[in-house]
Subunit: 201 residues, 2 copies
């Protein structure tokens, strides 16, 4: 298809598609004349990924570029780690993770020391503590148990046909399913508090 | 304590405290002279809440103001709803929630139709579908089950001594515990994928 067809299929304006091409977020199509190129399904898939990372993941263009760069063949584990590192929220490099490391250590999980996720946890734990609602071992057990159930199912569904599809799945799953989990938590709050109020009435 | 003591206790610079006072995020202290006022523990608590909403919740000043306004006495349910509505991420008002309503309906939860959380779910579901990873009924069951366990425990811990403390708990819990849940999910991904890779090796 031409660039106009690509725009139509994905809902991304032609000018934006051209911008993505210039920024290297989208591979060039096959040149058919001096001013035209042909695009295929791989371009449609890539554009949808970029759009999703931008709209739902709220990633900056440079963060998307770094995620996209991880999609090229390489070491799976390094690729997944790099991707997880690029995803928001951004956390400072110099966060002290001693407390978080210790708490997660009680779960027996094998995790990457000082990873973005661990620093993210440390920052959130400190903030919760600062406002007088610290994460207790009991609370941790509840959140960790829920998180682990979700993670197990998600990893079980990861496609293994190619590194690119595994990483795409990981990126999309991490970024696009975070709001799904959070929205369901808020809806569950509505149901649970509604039931409680009904009991009290 | 004086404004300098307040700044010292909370780590918020004096200039920022003055800004919050002007914006009405912090109640005025008791005036002790033309240029000085005395502040107490309620100001420390409020400042920590504002700081947490800003640093971790990433709320704008105007969103924080609207959340703070909900802390004044009123109807609990309306207050909680208003708070949930103010919290990020912002979602458009005109999102079609038909699909999301239907899916959540299968769970038997009593939720507020068209609420922010439902629109948030609808947007995320559409994005996941657009990139070829739609939320299936089976997937929904996993996320909903995890979300419900978390929500039940959270609501059970809500203080019932005053509306202000209940809402503070709800705001802090929603905003500050979201990153904890998400960070633990990513750490669980590390553990689960590590175990899988070890099995394959």
């Amino acid at each position: 298809m031409r660039i106009s067809g690509l725009a139509e299929r994905t809902g991304v304006p032609v000018a934006t598609v051209k911008y993505y091409l210039r920024e290297g977020l989208l591979n060039p199509g096959v040149q058919t004349s001096a001013t035209q190129a042909r695009y295929d399904e791989s371009h449609v898939a890539r554009l949808r990924l970029v759009k999703a990372l931008q709209d739902v993941g709220r990633l900056s263009i440079s963060a998307i570029k770094q995620v996209i760069d991880c999609l090229e063949p390489g070491d799976v584990f390094a690729g997944l780690g790099a991707v997880q590192h690029q995803l928001p929220p951004a956390v400072p490099e110099d966060v002290d993770t001693t407390e978080a490391d210790k708490l997660v250590g009680t779960l027996g999980w094998r995790v990457v020391p000082g990873s973005t996720a661990m620093r993210q946890l440390a920052v959130a734990m400190r903030a919760a503590e600062d406002v007088g609602l610290p994460l207790t071992p009991d609370g941790l057990a509840t959140y960790a148990d829920a998180a682990y159930r979700v993670a197990e199912r998600e990893i079980a569904g990861m496609p293994q046909d190619s590194l690119a599809s595994a990483i795409t799945y990981a990126v999309v799953g991490t970024v696009l399913y975070e709001p799904i989990l959070l929205a369901l938590r808020r809806l569950a709050h509505q149901d649970v508090s509604g039931r409680l109020l009904a009991e009290w009435a």
